[in-house]
Each structure stands twice: as C-alpha cells, then as structure tokens.
Amino acid sequence: MLEIRWHSRAGQGAVTGAKGLADVISTTGKHVQAFAFYGSAKRGAAMTAYNRVDEEIIMNHEKYMEPDYVFVIDPALVYTSDVTINGKEDTKYIITTHMSTDELIASQPKLKGKEVYTVDCIKIAQETIGRPIPNTPMLGAFMKISGMYDIEFFKESMVRILGKLPQKIIDANMIAIQRAYDEVK
C-alpha cells in the first residue's frame, strides 16, 4: 500500500490533484482511493487530501494514515500545520517553497532528519498556467522523486484527465508538470 497525504488550502486543487493522480494510476491496473478532509472549509482554509494505492482492492476507509509521501502545496502550511504528523521513519516530503531545502529545514526544525524535497510549485504555476494552482506541478515533482511512471506517459495521461479544459490551459499544465519534474531538488 502506497499512501500520500496532501497539505493544501481549499481552492488550490489538492482534491482535483489527488483524484487526477488516482485516475492515472487506475489506468495501469492498480487499485486507488482519493479523499479529503473538508470540514466546512472555506476557500483558503488549511485542508488535507489523501491517496491510497495498492495492488489489491482497497477496503480500508479509515481517515487515519501514516503516509509514505507528504505533499505540501502551499508554502506557509509548513509553519501553521504539522505536516509531519503520523509520519514514518522513511516518509518523503515534497514541499512547495521558494527556499532551498536546507533553508526550509533551518526554518522549520520539525523537518530535520526527514527526507525533504523542495520545488516552487506556486511560482511554476503562476509562470505557466497564470494562476497559483500548484496541484499539477506537484504531481510532476512526485513523478521525479518516486519514479512511479515515465514523465511522458504521465503527461499523456494528464492530458486526458484535463480533457475538458481549453487547449492553452492543458498545454500550460504540461509545461508546469515538466518544469516541476526538472526543478525539484
């Protein structure tokens, strides 16, 4: 079982990202689950979304999770939420920030000793899509760190998932995914 927790603000696309990722993975024959904690979250409120991936059918519906990966798609959440909660020894963190990984860890000591990767998904999204929607770039970074799929296969799959959007937006998302894949450290 592969488990992922997303830290996001409502409106940044974590749910869409989690569902999109699940959709891509499902096409490769694996079983998937994507869900979120909404509460009565309003746009901008901190929220979490989740992915489970397994070879077997997924029957576990508990919300509790000890994630293999933590995605943080808003830079401030590293300080205002505990993004390390229920983490494991080998949990990998992919965090959106303008800082270097060393600077980030120095600014948030909880991340010390963890496997932390950084990428500026907000900046990438703004420069490509034109809006600070950091969900698809995060998935590009995840493809790099996890080696889950070939990036070209992943991008082709995302083209289908983004299908109804205008071509210009789809193209921008592809650039964003590739940039995050190339830039994550």
């Binding site: 699940a22 079983h31 519906h61 508990e62």
Partner: protein, 407 residues
C-alpha cells in the same frame, strides 16, 4: 433516441456521488425534483448537467425545500414517471413527512441518501442518523459500502421499486464523504446494458392515464387506514425480499458482481464478528483478516438491506458465532442502538448462546480506525474466553473524555 450516449471506460475513478449520478443518467430518470444539501448535492447536480448536455431525456425541477423536492417526486411518480432525487441530513429530516406519503401511495421513487449527521450541533459529515430516521417510513433501504455499491444499487433499487408486485419507494444509502466524496475505481456498464437491466418504466395506476382515472393519497379513517398499512407491511415482509434476491441474482448474471441481503465475510468458522453498515464494513473486513493472522477467528456481517430488516438472514448469519458486536453509527437517544435491538430480536427464541454487545461509534464523521477495530475484536475474544460479556452492553468507540458505557 433523442439523447446522446456516453462512452465510459470499463473502470472509471468516481466518487460515490458521481457514481450515483451516472446511474441516474443511465436509468433515464424522467423527473428529478431536488434541493441541494451537503454532501448529496453533486448527485442531483450531476443529473442536471447530464440533462443540460443532452445525455438524458427528462426534467429537472428546482424547488424551494426538500419537503417540496419529495412532494414534486411524489406528484411526478403518481403521474407515471421514473423519478429520483437525493438528499442528506437536515434535508432528509424535512422530507420525512412526505416519505410516508410516498410509501403509503406505493410510488416507486428512488432516493439517494448520502448519510450525514443531524444537528444540533451542526455537522456536515457522515453518520447514519438520517438513515435511522427513515427506518419506519415504509421505504426499502439499501446500503452501500463504497462507490461501486452506490452505482450498482441504484439500478437494483429501480428494478425492485418499480416491480408491480412491490411498488414501494427505495432509498440507496452511502456514507457522506467516506463514500460520497471518496474516489475509487468503479466498474461501469455501457449505457445500453445498464438501461436493459432496469428496462422501460411500466406505469401502474398513473394519473396521466385518462382512460382509467384513479385517486392517489386519499383519506381513510379508522374504517380502512389499518388495512392499508397492514397490507403495505405485509408486502414489505413477504414480497420484497424475494424480489431483491432476484434482482441481485440477475445483476450478478449481468455484471459478475454479487450482492446479498446480508453480506457475510469470513463467517464460516468465525468465533467473533462485528455487524455494521457503510464503509465500516470494508474497514472491518480488512481488520478481520489481520485478526485471523493473530489467531482470532474474526468475521464481519454487513447489512445490505436495512429495510425490510433481514430477520431470518441475520439469524442464519449469526447462528454459529460466539460473540457479536453490533455497531451503530447513530446516537440512539436513550436506548440501545438499532442494530443491537434488531439483532437481539432476531436471536431471541433461537438456540444461540452468542454474547451480544453494542457499540456507538463514528458520530459526525468521527474516524473509525483499524486500531479501534483491533481493540474491538480483541474485546470480543475476551468475552468468548470468559464465557460472558465482560463489559457493559453499550460502549462508545473513539469519543474523548471519561469512558462512556451503559447497560
């Protein structure tokens, strides 16, 4: 046909709401009268979008409340159409008066209930309070454990409800958020196959049949009211289960997917078991398998048909087990939980010596974790080892503060 068909992949990643909306599209609902409420809104929104995009030939009626939504459904069903809607929680509570009208008038409406807590305190998350509120309303109630079930059971619900020997409304329940907003792989049917399972709507006593005028919703005082209610109950008790079983059988033939009135998992040699509903059934199945690796013979019984209550099927499922936990996801308001009471009623007068205990859990969406279930199965095994229930008969799982236990 005047509408377009939709190409679906064999497996789509859908949440429970979208799965239900797709089922309503494929059943070609004539009328949806709806009022939005979290977490069920995307079902009727989905239908409205399919209608606007010409994937359905039907009518979407926007109304001013859930009471009006069900009233609209009743009118449309009495007129002679295939009718459905969806609601949750407070909306369901507001519908209650009209639920009894629908069942009493024998109208085959399908209501998707996305289960959510009832206020106060206000809470949008999933528990079974609204499902329990409807359990005496004379509706047939199916329960889903995952998005696949929410899709499949809608077809089965129309098949059963519209059968001229049944003619009773059906609810299809799914857990708010835990199913309704959780995306998982759903095996789909193509549009023609799906529609063939429910078939064309066959009207009965429809008001638009002007050659055969009928009256719906009449007044009967003490002279006839009881006979109507008794006959309705008789049909629920005697006619509905065989029709449900037949629909399950046909559905399995069509799709390979098997549903049972009572679902039994690892029960053949089980010493201890939990009886529950919704997503908890699947989580408990996973934990039961893990308990077996630890030497505790654990099993799970899932209620698939909540009403009519599967009295004999429960008796059969529980006849050899030594300790049973009844898990109720609704505050029972000064009584044992519904499942505890129903199960006790099933087992009384039988030869079983099973130890029965009740647990209230998951109110307002509180997580039921695998750890909770490990502790629960362990507690049941301790009861078996001691030959008696070592705890009070009613406990609360996962609530903070001093331990609450009663009876």
């Amino acid at each position: 046909m005047a509408f377009d068909k939709m190409e679906l992949r064999d497996i789509e990643v859908w949440d429970g709401n979208f799965a239900a909306a797709q089922a309503l599209r494929q059943c070609q609902i004539d009328v949806v009268a709806a009022y939005p409420i979290t977490p069920s809104t995307p079902i009727v929104e989905g239908y409205a979008k399919f209608l606007a995009d010409n994937y359905v030939e039907g009518e979407f009626v926007m109304v001013e409340s859930e009471h009006a939504a069900m009233s609209g459904c009743i009118g449309a069903a009495a007129a002679g159409g295939r009718v459905a809607t969806a609601t949750s929680s407070q909306g369901f509570a507001l519908m209650v008066e009209t639920l009894y009208q629908a069942s009493g008038m024998r109208l085959p409406i399908v209501l998707n209930v996305v289960n959510r807590a009832l206020a106060a305190p206000l809470n949008v998350n999933g528990d079974h309070s609204d499902m329990y509120l409807g359990r005496d309303s004379g509706w047939i109630q199916f329960d889903s454990y995952c998005p696949q079930d929410a899709y499949d059971l809608n077809f089965i619900a129309f098949r059963v409800a519209e059968d001229h020997d049944v003619r009773l409304p059906c609810m299809v329940h799914q857990d708010g958020f835990m199913t309704s907003h959780t995306a998982q792989g759903v095996h789909t049917m193509d549009d023609d196959t799906a529609y063939s399972f429910v078939g064309d709507f066959k009207p009965m006593n429809d008001m638009l049949d002007f050659e055969h005028p009928v009256t719906h919703g009449v007044q009967t005082e003490e002279d006839w009211h009881f006979e109507h209610k008794a006959r309705q109950h008789n049909d629920l008790m005697t006619k509905v289960m065989p029709k449900i079983q037949a629909a399950f059988d046909d559905f399995k033939t069509l799709t390979g997917r098997e549903y049972n009135i009572v679902e039994r998992y690892d029960m053949d040699d089980a010493d201890v078991c939990v009886v529950c509903m919704g997503t908890s059934v699947e989580t408990a199945r996973e934990v039961a398998l893990e308990m077996r690796a630890k030497g505790i013979k654990a099993g799970v019984v899932g209620i698939r048909v909540v009403r009519p209550f599967p009295f004999f099927e429960i008796q059969e499922a529980l006849k050899d087990v030594k300790a049973i936990a009844a898990l109720d996801r609704s505050a029972p308001g000064g009584a044992p939980g519904m499942l505890f009471n129903e199960i006790a009623g099933c087992l009384f007068n039988t030869d079983t010596k099973a130890l029965l205990s009740g647990y209230i859990y998951g109110l307002g969406g509180r997580d039921l974790t695998k750890k909770h279930l490990v502790d629960l199965f362990t507690e049941l095994q301790a009861n078996v080892d001691a030959g008696k229930v070592l705890t009070p008969l009613q406990q609360f799982i996962g609530v903070r503060g001093p331990k609450l236990q009663f009876l």
